[in-house]
């Protein structure tokens, strides 16, 4: 009889089957870097609607907006880096089609996730004071320090509300079937915080390996995610495409250009892009991406 921790492997569709209309979903990674795109693509194909999306945004946000999945967007920026402005995000904002938006400072995001991860209602910080972040988010309050500062003043700080999530979706390089996972690229981003801020967390990865395999060729400090933070594991090779997943692969700049051209083009341009890449399942997406690469 096995005494090991449980096997949490599941399919992409099983992950999306756990999601419900109206949920608050945090998406890991950063801008166009190490995003759980296979899971995002599966949400595009689903009937899910009225989602609240919390993301340091890239094409994950653009795609979900274009598919009409978002009721509320919580963001500090949405960018593709090499293409600074995300066309689907611009289109949605300029047409006023997102029912509710909350633009935060990018550091406030970390503080809000940290508050949620620590089960606190808020954490104090300076970011936001004096800026229109507080004007455009009238629900965000300030709090007076109970302690006098060096000048005897009690500083009035922003009480960043906890960014509590129903579900976190993250993509790592390697994981075991229990949910322990390593990032092998330059930056962990905030994927551990996303998982801890969420009631449930689903982790996609390039490759599922034995637990011992996680530290065979990577230092133990790369073990960012512990299985106690994770509810499901799904192997999605090339699953962050077209964002970076260093060192497994870098961003697919040619594909990103094609995405941005279609997103910023006519409705017909977008429909053609959608039909070529997004109409089928993840396998057909990956096949279409391979064909696209061979055409270049």
């Amino acid at each position: 009889m096995s005494t090991g921790p449980r096997d949490k492997r599941m399919t992409i569709d099983e992950v999306v089957g756990q999601l419900k209309d109206g949920m608050t979903i945090g998406i890991g990674g950063w801008g166009p870097r190490r995003k759980p795109m296979a899971l995002v693509r599966a949400i595009l194909r689903s009937d899910l609607k009225s989602l609240t999306i919390v993301s340091w945004g890239g094409a994950d946000v653009g795609l979900l907006l274009r598919a009409g999945k978002v009721r509320k967007l919580v963001y500090a920026f949405v960018s593709l880096d090499s293409i600074p402005l995300e066309p689907n995000f611009q289109r949605a904002r300029q047409s006023g089609s997102i029912p509710e938006v909350a633009e935060l400072d990018e550091g406030m995001f970390q503080t809000g996730l940290r508050a949620a991860a620590q089960r606190l209602p808020f954490l104090p910080m300076r970011a936001g004071l004096g800026s229109d972040v507080l004007v455009n988010n009238p629900g965000i309050r300030t709090v007076a320090s109970p302690y006098a500062g060096p000048d005897d003043q009690h500083e009035e700080l922003v009480a960043v509300p906890a960014l509590r999530l129903d579900v976190a979706l993250v993509h790592l390089n390697r994981a075991d079937k229990h949910g322990n996972a390593t990032y092998l690229g330059p930056d962990p981003y905030f994927d551990d915080l996303f998982c801890m801020a969420a009631d449930r967390a689903f982790l996609s990865c390039e490759q599922v390996v034995d637990t011992a395999g996680l530290t065979v060729d990577a230092p133990v400090q790369r073990l960012l995610i512990s299985r106690m933070m994770v509810d499901g594991v799904v192997e999605t090779p090339n699953g962050a495409h077209f964002t970076t997943c260093t060192p497994d692969y870098e961003r697919d700049e040619k594909f990103q250009k094609a995405y941005a051209a279609a997103a910023g083009g006519s409705d017909e341009d977008w429909q053609a892009f959608h039909d070529r890449f997004l109409a089928g399942d993840e396998d057909s997406y990956q096949a279409a991406v391979r064909a696209f690469g061979e055409d270049q």
Binding site: L85, R93, E106, G107, R126, A127, S131
Partner: protein, 256 residues
């Protein structure tokens, strides 16, 4: 010494913005700021801590967009936010709009609820401006950028910081605004933009015409200093041999 371009002048002016910073993390956003910071590190301030713009602190000073040879530290985004709060950082950001009071907008143009033009979002500007020294780089000085009042306040100028209370004002430090025409600070009357120098070949009237509000212009406005021979060699031979700087600030002579 006349054989220099406007971009070279801008690079030296940006370098000067970092020369008295001591041993802090210099965070340039964009090409000319990156060039200027690296120039400062090779000349006036070797103690500057610089990064690859991703997650590594670089021990050397490589050319623009080259890979580092030696790494001296790790600066993932989570640590960037810690350093912002720690305060040992000087960021030079871009700005789609800057107003008379040194507020900056990179969020959106028009009404926030349904903007005419959605930009990046406020990114780290609100946090930067109430925590660490912040400067701005504007490659095309025009009345569309320099407006009486920004549409959305991302970066907080000194007057708004003071109005928001001691927690906002304590570390608010808007240091320089460098453009393709001139250099400014925000120490004009009532914490407004003040002209510090005009680049060689630019007149004060040109700067006034390119600015959509009344500038504080002191009685005596010097020319921005010319880059030294050492700086020109570093810019041309070491840091930017492909002359990428001229894509951002075209060579005035060549443009004619």
């Amino acid at each position: 010494m006349t054989d220099y371009t406007r971009a070279d002048v801008c690079a030296a002016a940006i370098a000067d913005a970092f020369k008295d910073d001591g041993e802090i993390f210099a965070s340039p956003m964009g090409l000319l700021p990156m060039l200027g910071v690296r120039l400062a590190k090779l000349t006036s301030n070797p103690d500057l801590v610089i990064s690859d713009g991703e997650s590594l602190f670089l021990a050397g000073v490589p050319p623009l967009f080259a890979k580092a040879d030696v790494v001296e530290g790790w600066i993932p985004f989570r640590t960037v936010f810690d350093v912002v709060a720690y305060g040992k950082r000087h960021v030079m950001m871009g700005a789609t709009q800057v107003d008379r009071h040194g507020n900056q907008n990179i969020s959106a143009i028009g009404d926030f609820a349904q903007p005419k033009r959605q930009l990046l979002g406020s990114r780290g500007a609100p946090g930067n401006t109430v925590n660490n020294r912040t400067s701005y780089w504007v490659p095309k000085h025009s009345p569309r950028v320099f407006v009486e009042q920004v549409d959305i306040v991302s970066g907080v100028g000194p007057q708004r910081a003071k109005a928001a209370g001691v927690a906002a004002a304590r570390f608010n430090d808007i240091h320089r605004v460098v453009t393709n025409l001139a250099v400014f600070d925000v120490r004009g009357t009532d914490d407004t933009l003040r002209l510090l120098s005009v680049h060689p070949g630019v007149t004060i009237d040109e700067v006034r015409e390119a600015t959509g509000f009344e500038l504080d212009v002191p009685a005596d406005v010097p020319d921005t200093r010319e880059p030294t021979m050492e700086e020109l060699i570093l810019i041309r031979e070491v840091l930017d041999p492909k002359a990428l700087r001229h894509r951002e600030v075209p060579d005035q002579e060549a443009a004619r």
